[in-house]
Amino acid sequence: MSKLPQSLANNPKLGQWLDFAAPGRVTVRIGKVEIGQGIKTALAQIAAEELDLAFAQIRMAAPATDTAPDEGVTSGSLSIQDSGSALRLVCAETRALFLAQAAQRLDAAPETLTVADGVFRAADGRRTDYWALAAAVTLDRAASGLVAPKPITAHRVVGQSQPRSDLPDKVFGLRRFIHDLDLPGMVHGRVLRPPSTGASLVSAPEAMADGIGLVRDGNFLGVVADSEQAAERAAERLASRLEWRERDALPDPALLFDWLKTAKAEMQIVAERGTPASGARTHGAEFRKPYLAHASIGPCCAIARWEDGALRVWSHTQGIFNLRADLAIALGIGRERIAIEHVEGAGCYGHNGADDVALDAALLARTMPGRPLRVQWSRRDELAAAAFGPAMAIRLEADLDAKGGVLAWRHEVWSNGHSSRPGRAETPTLLAASDLAKSFPRRLSINVAPAAGGGAERNAVPPYDLPALKVASHRVLDMPIRASALRGLGAFANVFAIESFVDELAALAGEDRLAWRLARLADPRARAVIELATARAGWSGRARRPGRGIGLGYARYKSNGAYCAVVAEVEAEREIRVERLTVAADVGLAINPDGIANQLEGGAVQAASWTLLEEVRFDRRRIAIAGWEDYPILRFPEAPAVAVHLIRPGDQPSLGAGEASLGPTAAAIANALHDALGLRVRQLPLDRARLAQAALA
């Protein structure tokens, strides 16, 4: 038997994935969640395709721990790979079971039946359908994985651009987000977070006036009120009456990267191959990325309700089962006492505070059994209290021969681990867990296994043919600033560094930077995206204009995911402006091509924002962010024009697209800036200050 996809091996019963209980509809249950990436639409397309149903006949159930298959976390651009491949097999096998039953009922050979819109038709016109047959077909059986899905040539739904099923509600402002849920008897809570890492509450009032509830557990403090506005105002009033003891626990921001490289760390060799020959000289450079915030437009929000010692939580988490595991530990109850239902939130771009706020809600709701309690974070907490994408330092070195040819390549990265996601250890990672009287120590962030794409070392191995290379990653074992997964993890900075360095090496060798890459990429799919992006951007034969430049960045996400090349055109005479980004990608079989283009485009724009503007500022004590004024992101007037071109490679496995364009975009912008001004800026963000530093260096 062929190996089942992991999601299916873990949840083998067909009936876990779908049922035909609703007339004329199939209900599909998946464990991955919608985070604005369009996953519900793409997976519904797969189900419609393999079951021979119309797209409109597919109902995607909201994932909940009591009904959905456990598929772990929705992250790493893996949903189409995990859920998609499982669902494809499940639906193909389900269709085959129903087809056999239909053949029996219609007394015809299965291969003579046609199936469309869920109706099985015999050659003589007699018919039956999924719903008429459902009672006779049991889905309470394990998938064999032996029924082959349709060949790509037979696809009618998959591969067609399908409008997103969730978008109309959002365009018309309907009740769709978790923020909009209004449960009967619901009350509202707000949490007063410690102002800095390790702060402890010295004095707080014992109670509040005006019917406001006050909940305190160690350094965890919150208020509860009947209305949201009352809760908000109570929190404001209370904040001014609190006294915290704080200490200087953060690294000196001026020496952040020295701290990273000298802090206690755990070293891992990521890759080592070839025997380095001794070179004529060595070229080395250090690249740096600051802490970055997820900075969702909608604040984190959760609703919790306790009843008879059991807890129900409504959450926009990326991993309902992982959140349940950590809540169980933090609250000291069994997992089976907790149910979590997913409700869509605003885009999260990685592990933001969605899980943390669920614990906040559960802690406050515990004081009011039977009442649903809703907590929404403040803008300040959204930007300053959620985990950040960690700062990184990357040292690159190449030993070169007399002509500048690379003999050996070395890459070293220093960073905190890139994941503090819940549900992976024996103590919780949820924010409030370390504030409780019976506190759980803050867990150090980890790097997920290399097989899952790694964390800090993601994309640290260069894609080029090089005679010898060595890649090492240092996971810093001290975490004064809480770090976790931000879209793309280490790939963003590693690709920025590698692709910047490649331009430097090409220049040292007197080679053309495009030719340098093409000559060292054996994989034709890699060359194809670079060729497409550069052709569409008009790379060759451009007239040089003062203050303007063009640059290229390429990576295959996680080394085994989507191929993506980006060309950036910048104008840097006064302001640094990215005028245009041309993205070319190969994502294997594209389920929903327009959805993929949308994600690649969004990723490129977000990466442009990170690259040009973003940096979490702090002093020795506090994160210095009170609101958007302290963490600017790219706005409409500056957002670059983006063109996305997809290569359709035929029936190649589908590769997630959500994170593929970020690293190449950063590198392309840095390389374009160098092309424009002759200045190599190696520290993000690429703003005027960094430019001035580079000019002095």
Binding site: R164, K170, V171, G173, R175, D180, G298
Partner: protein, 150 residues
């Protein structure tokens, strides 16, 4: 106050936040809460035709005046041209920013039926979108402008 063309009596006191009242008492949740301090545009409404952050207005400031929210622009049955265009362009990812953006765009088109791209971008300068849907949104607004002119 007049909300989306209908007179509504509001029980909340004058000092209550208009955003809370819209989302709570009036059940108009399409106006989103993003920052609560006028910095992101998620809560934009039209107050007598002018773009305002509902999170920075009190009920008192809106009494006797006309408030238009996203629900007043159009509905699935009768979409506003901007809404039709957003769907045609598939402009949006998480969609959290879209309500406020449509309000700002509607105000622009009321004032300037034939904007160029730069004017659309300038009109949306106070609206944040974290998903990077800017390009598609700008195209949709230009498309809507064209549809409204014919």
């Amino acid at each position: 106050m007049i909300v989306n063309g209908r007179a509504r009596t509001v029980a909340a006191p004058d000092e209550a936040s208009l955003l809370h009242v819209l989302r709570g008492e009036l059940g108009l949740v399409g106006t989103r809460h993003g920052c609560g301090s006028g910095q992101c545009g998620a809560c934009f409404v039209l107050l007598d035709g002018e773009v305002k952050a509902a999170c920075e207005l009190t009920v008192g400031q809106a009494r006797g005046r006309s408030v238009t929210t996203i629900e007043g622009l159009g509905s699935p049955e009768r979409p506003h041209p901007i809404q039709a265009a957003l769907l045609e362009e598939q402009a949006g990812q998480c969609g959290y920013c879209l309500s406020g953006i449509q309000i700002a765009a509607a105000a622009l088109l009321a004032r300037r039926p034939d904007p160029d791209e730069g004017q659309v971008r300038a009109a949306l300068a106070r609206n944040l979108c974290r998903c990077g849907a800017h390009g598609r949104i700008v195209r949709a607004v230009l498309r809507a402008a064209k549809a409204m002119r014919v």
